[in-house]
């Protein structure tokens, strides 16, 4: 592993403020702040004894000087509701930074960074690192409606891509802000534009159907001439690689036999090469709400008639 391991810190909430439909939290976690890179996440305890498991949140920013991490929380269920309601002075138990950061392209590679909803959270930091490396960066942020948007100064300056990326495109499904439609509707034009500067790198964060569409669109528009790095959001119990709940079927692209393994999104990801994900098996069972099946050709796939244990 070429990135540092996580560290546990009892992080004081330095500030908490609403940003659109979300809550922006600044947490004092000096050691994690020193180590973190864009694309990594923090696992946060909820403080409620009945909810054991930590909630994973993408790092929006890390300030090694101030010793702070920043996150943007969407109150989805009971745990994120508690996190979104934290007040300054509260203490949140954190383990961070976790997961593999976004791999960076060769200096000067043009890049597009795409976020759906709160998926835009890590993009400004990533865009800053990319532009520092000489990339031309175009941001695309979208959401179902304006109130679920993040990453644009139309919602909030401090968390926006504006002024960091060279251009920012905003889409909403209902047209309430920016261009009507989905982020992937805006993607082809951006890809074509950037590809004039070189083979672009595509970075995306958001729900799995969006990531799939980003990957498909990229391949449709540029063929193999672009690498996609997709930050997935699998349901995680531990975030540190010990529970095996967060797995996805992933092809080993470095192995000529290209075997598929069920890899942990928390340690092998959350950022995966879009070409390595087994899209045929991901989200294939509607009654499992986006769960991933085990492809028949995966290493150790079930043999018919052999039941598994827990």
């Amino acid at each position: 592993m070429s990135w540092p391991a996580g560290v546990q810190e009892a992080a004081e909430v330095v500030s908490a403020r609403p940003v659109g439909a979300y809550t922006h939290l600044v947490l004092r976690a000096p050691e994690a702040a020193r180590r973190a890179q864009p694309g990594q996440f923090v696992a946060c305890g909820t403080g409620d004894s009945g909810m054991l498991l930590r909630r994973s949140l993408s790092l929006h920013a890390a300030d090694p000087e101030a010793g702070t991490l920043e996150v943007v929380v969407a109150a989805a269920g009971p745990g994120t509701r508690l996190l979104a309601a934290k007040r300054p002075g509260d203490v949140v138990s954190t383990t961070a930074p976790l997961g593999r950061p976004f791999p960076l392209p060769a200096p000067g590679t043009p890049a597009v960074v795409i976020g759906g909803g709160y998926g835009a959270a890590p993009l400004p930091w990533l865009a800053r690192v990319l532009t520092t490396g000489g990339s031309r960066v175009v941001g695309i942020v979208g959401a179902a409606s304006a109130d679920r948007l993040l990453g644009t100064s139309a919602v909030d300056d401090a968390t926006a891509l504006d002024g960091i990326a060279d251009a920012v495109v905003v889409t909403t499904d209902d047209g309430s802000l920016g261009a009507p439609g989905r982020v992937t509707d805006a993607l082809p034009e951006v890809l074509l534009e950037l590809s004039e500067l070189g083979e672009p790198a595509v970075y995306a964060c958001g729900p799995m159907p969006m990531l799939r569409s980003v990957h498909t669109t990229t391949r449709e528009v540029l063929g193999e001439r672009a690498q996609t790095w997709l930050a997935v959001e699998e349901s995680m119990a531990c975030g540190v690689g010990v529970c095996m709940t967060c797995v996805l079927p992933v092809v080993d692209l470095d192995d000529d036999d290209t075997p598929t393994r069920m890899l942990r999104a928390c340690t092998a990801g959350p950022v995966f090469d879009g070409d390595a994900l087994r899209w045929d098996a991901i989200g294939a069972a509607p009654h499992l709400r986006g769960g991933a099946l085990v492809p028949d050709d995966a290493v150790g796939a079930p043999v018919v008639g052999r039941a598994g244990g827990h």
Partner: protein, 346 residues
Amino acid sequence: MSTPSAPATSATEEVAHAAVDLSTSIGSFHLPAPTMTASGCAAAGAELAPYLDLSALGAVVTKSVLREPRSGRATPRMAETPSGMLNSIGLQGPGIDAFLEHDLPVLAQAGARVVVSIAGGDPEEFGELAGRLAALGPDSPVGAIEVNISCPNVANRGLVFACDPGASRAVLEAVSGAVASAASASGHPALPVLAKLSPDVTDLVAVARACTDGGATGLTAINTTLGMVIDPVTLRPQLAGVTGGTSGPAIRPIAVRCIWQLTAAKRAGVLPDVPVVGAGGVASGADALQLIAVGACAVQVGTATFADPSAPARVARELEAELARRGVARLADVIGIAHEPGRGPR
């Protein structure tokens, strides 16, 4: 009840600032500290190295190892439940060859003592795995084998072995037979064999007795209890595996009760006097003390590790403080104390 012998030497060396002798043993397997990881809750073990000192734990218990690599189940594999969770992993793992080649050396390197959990679809698979492990000899970090009988019996419609005394006994016979052969071939003492029990039975002591009759030299209690969660959106089972194992503090009262029953049976002479390793909902030193007071000589920390990857080590420190506060000098003095009115602190 005779408490496991506790060599007074090692504990003070291994546990920082040890005021209390926390050492314990499982047959011939001596542990400087009484907390372990729980099978399936620490992956191969090395994943926890950033968060705790693997060599200071009583032992690392590996996820259950099978003969062949196994992909495990589709996802979702987990659901959070009140003070607990369900999991349905499906024994994902690399298989025994890869385990021995890659995972075990890393643990040896880290100075960890290792309990290897094994699983299989029939007694033969268990026996083969046990034989491979027993053949490693005393230079390996493997100090004991834990037999995960809470997995489906291929020959019996997938009914888990642990729900059937006869099937449990057959598995333990295969394992203890393989361990005994290896021991007599090498001249080294036989590896202790822990049978890991499921709470989902009418008569726990009968299953435990079948395991000891089959050659188990110790027991681990408990594995997860079968549960289910319905997805609020689809109104279908939330786990791809339909049912899952419930773990975490929610099941601690069940674990305490099961260990109490096993220890009471030992005290009544219904069960041989084998060590019992406790598991189920331990998240703090006070929790561990409950399991120890009803008879556990060591304690596994499973689900709590997901919330706090340092938990197995932290629980040992907290347990030490709990005992020190009560003026207890040796862990051994409180093992099973709940059964003995008049004994011990206060």
